[in-house]
């Protein structure tokens, strides 16, 4: 029976939600081809993850545990997964489109002679049982459908929030996989600094509030942050705001920044250039706040207020808080 591998993303002691989202994508394929689903943990300490993973669809859980896999090292992680692929003859490998998976899966594809696509918004099987993937191309300007040739493994990462976790079964069967991990003198982690974030990461956020040129300076972004915090949103910015040095690059949404697709995107003082829209145009609901009635964003939004953002933001934050 063919096997679908799903990469486990674990932070401290808990399996991150993205893993369950990817299991939901794997379940969609399983319904069609009857493959078994195996979760794969790579690291130094898996813990008892099989009951949670089983609940969301994993039939089996491979645990590749080794002290030298404590720190993420793309070469060693690629080695570990490729060895497992050779052992179990997996057809398909799925993972969340996390930075770590984007980092080491390209090496896995080249090592195993497999194919890799990233950031799928939907996956399916073709009539000949190969993987088919829908993903954005040219930022958000187009959606491409790609189908794999008859190669193994067919590897894809899935966009965060693209699938909803589905409860599917009982605990998965835990299988300890011992894989020799060679020494690697070429890559040494000297220091890891986790920087506490006040708000959700843009690529994971369910809601985003972004400020643009209309914010006029960095201090005024506090108004955006207040609105963001009232709905638990991440905070973004347009290129104009970033280039002016008001907020850091990591907040930039757009074709030359982050491409996001939250359920709610509130654009404040952002005119709505082609480049910005390419980075957020696939958001489910777009709200615009701008004082210029001719701003292009008003032709591309679901809701908007045409008014001065310095008046609107505090008032809107209050109204939302009132709703509770």
């Amino acid at each position: 029976m063919s096997e679908i591998l799903v990469l486990v993303d674990k932070a401290q002691d808990t399996v991150r939600n993205v893993t369950y989202e990817v299991l939901a994508a794997a379940l969609k394929l399983k319904e069609k081809n009857g493959a078994s689903i195996s979760a794969v943990y790579i690291g130094d300490n898996a813990g008892s993850i099989e009951s949670d993973l089983g609940k969301y669809g994993a039939d089996k859980v491979y645990k590749i545990e080794n002290p030298s896999l404590k720190d993420f090292n793309p070469s060693l992680y690629a080695h570990a997964l490729s060895e497992l692929v050779n052992k179990v003859n997996a057809d398909i490998i799925l993972g969340g489109n996390t930075l770590q998976n984007q980092d080491f899966l390209p090496r896995v594809a080249s090592k195993t002679k497999g194919g890799l696509t990233t950031d799928a918004i939907d996956i399916d099987l073709t009539s000949s049982s190969t993987l088919q993937v829908k993903r954005y191309k040219y930022s958000g300007k187009s959606i491409a459908t790609l189908s794999y040739h008859d190669v193994k493994p067919m590897i894809a990462t899935i966009r965060l929030n693209a699938y909803k976790p589905v409860e599917a079964g009982a605990a998965g069967e835990a299988v300890s996989e011992s894989i020799d991990i060679p020494a690697d003198d070429n890559f040494k982690v000297i220091e890891t600094n986790i920087i506490p974030k006040e708000r959700p990461e843009l690529t994971e956020a369910d809601k985003i509030v972004s400020g643009g040129r209309g914010m006029a300076n960095g201090e005024n972004f506090k108004l955006c942050y207040d609105l963001a915090d009232s709905v638990g949103a991440g905070a973004g910015a347009s290129r104009a705001a970033v280039d002016s040095g008001w907020v850091p690059y990591e907040m930039q949404v757009g074709q030359t920044g982050k491409v996001v697709s939250p359920n709610l995107y509130i654009a404040v003082g952002i005119s709505g250039s082609v480049q910005h829209y390419a980075g957020m145009g696939s958001s489910k609901v777009i709200v615009a706040i701008n004082k210029d009635p001719d701003a292009p964003i008003f032709q591309k939004c679901d809701y908007g207020i045409c008014g001065d953002l310095f008046d609107v933001l505090p008032a809107l934050t209050d109204e939302i808080k009132k709703l509770g």
Partner: protein
């Protein structure tokens, strides 16, 4: 020291994307092409290292005739020479096949100490080709570098990398491949004298016949698009209909209350 920067020519960020008649690609006729914006940071980083250490900077791309403009832009920023891999057989390759071809050429060059690349290609929405090249060359990698310090004496690079939830500092033994984060530096504009000089800098053209497939474990027949792992079936332009309910903000309280209500009751989003 020799630094190689892998670059890509992409449609301008302002370009309107339209599907071609076959429905599996885009219309390319009226598009302005540019050096991938994220690659500018990689070229700038290479040039800054060169200015500190007398390194030589080679710029490599795969693409049709016009892609040489991306190389020329990078040379105008301070690169020394170009490698332009172009062959009709190399059009429409997937990332696997592209990495094979690029890896083979870099192997043939032989003496590259550091490979730099941008964090993402804005056309493919993908960051994987440079990393697949690192695997082809069996060299270590670091991604999303916000700082790169090269120590020529010990042949190492100390890299600060963005990771989920923070950053980490990694030491790589050279040769190594590093993708750089946006904002690692401020890419310079190509000056007019720089552009004039770039026209005279050497640019090697590499065709299919110049790539030795044996060396990269790929048969002659698999070199190029036939080595691809997947194909493009279709490209669509997403059309999302927006409801365009714009409220006049003259009465701010009223407008805000109305918007909050719409988001709660109609959109059911807050």
């Amino acid at each position: 020291m020799k630094i190689l920067v892998i670059v890509r020519q992409t449609p301008d960020t302002e370009a309107k994307i339209q599907t071609n008649s076959a429905g599996n690609g885009i219309q390319t006729d009226d598009i302005k092409w540019i050096l991938n914006p994220f690659d500018e940071f990689a070229v700038e980083e290479a040039v800054q290292i060169k200015e500190k250490s007398n390194a030589e900077v080679v710029v490599l791309t795969v693409g049709s005739d016009k892609a040489v403009d991306a190389i020329r832009t990078a040379l105008a920023m301070g690169g020394d020479s170009g490698v332009h891999i172009k062959d009709d057989a190399f059009a429409d390759m997937d990332t696997y096949a592209l990495a094979k071809v690029i890896g083979a050429k870099i192997k043939a060059l032989g003496d590259i100490d550091l490979i730099l690349a941008g964090k993402k290609w804005i056309d493919e929405e993908s960051s994987q080709v440079p990393l697949q090249v690192a695997e082809e060359l069996s060299i270590p990698q670091a991604t999303l570098a916000s700082k790169v310090e090269v120590d020529e004496g010990s042949k190492t690079a100390k890299v600060t990398s963005v990771i989920e939830g923070g950053e980490r500092i990694i030491e790589l033994k050279l040769p190594a491949l590093i993708t750089v984060e946006q904002g690692i530096n401020e890419p310079r504009y190509a000056s007019l004298p720089g552009i004039m000089k770039a026209k005279k800098k050497p640019c090697e053209e590499v065709g299919k016949g110049d790539i030795n497939g044996d060396e990269i474990g790929i048969s002659e027949g698999e070199l190029g698009i036939d080595g691809s792992r997947y194909k493009n079936d279709a490209i669509e332009i997403p059309t999302i209909t927006r409801s365009l309910k714009v409220i006049d903000g003259n009465d701010v309280q009223q407008a805000s209350s109305e918007l909050a209500k719409l988001l709660r009751e109609e959109a059911k989003i807050i």
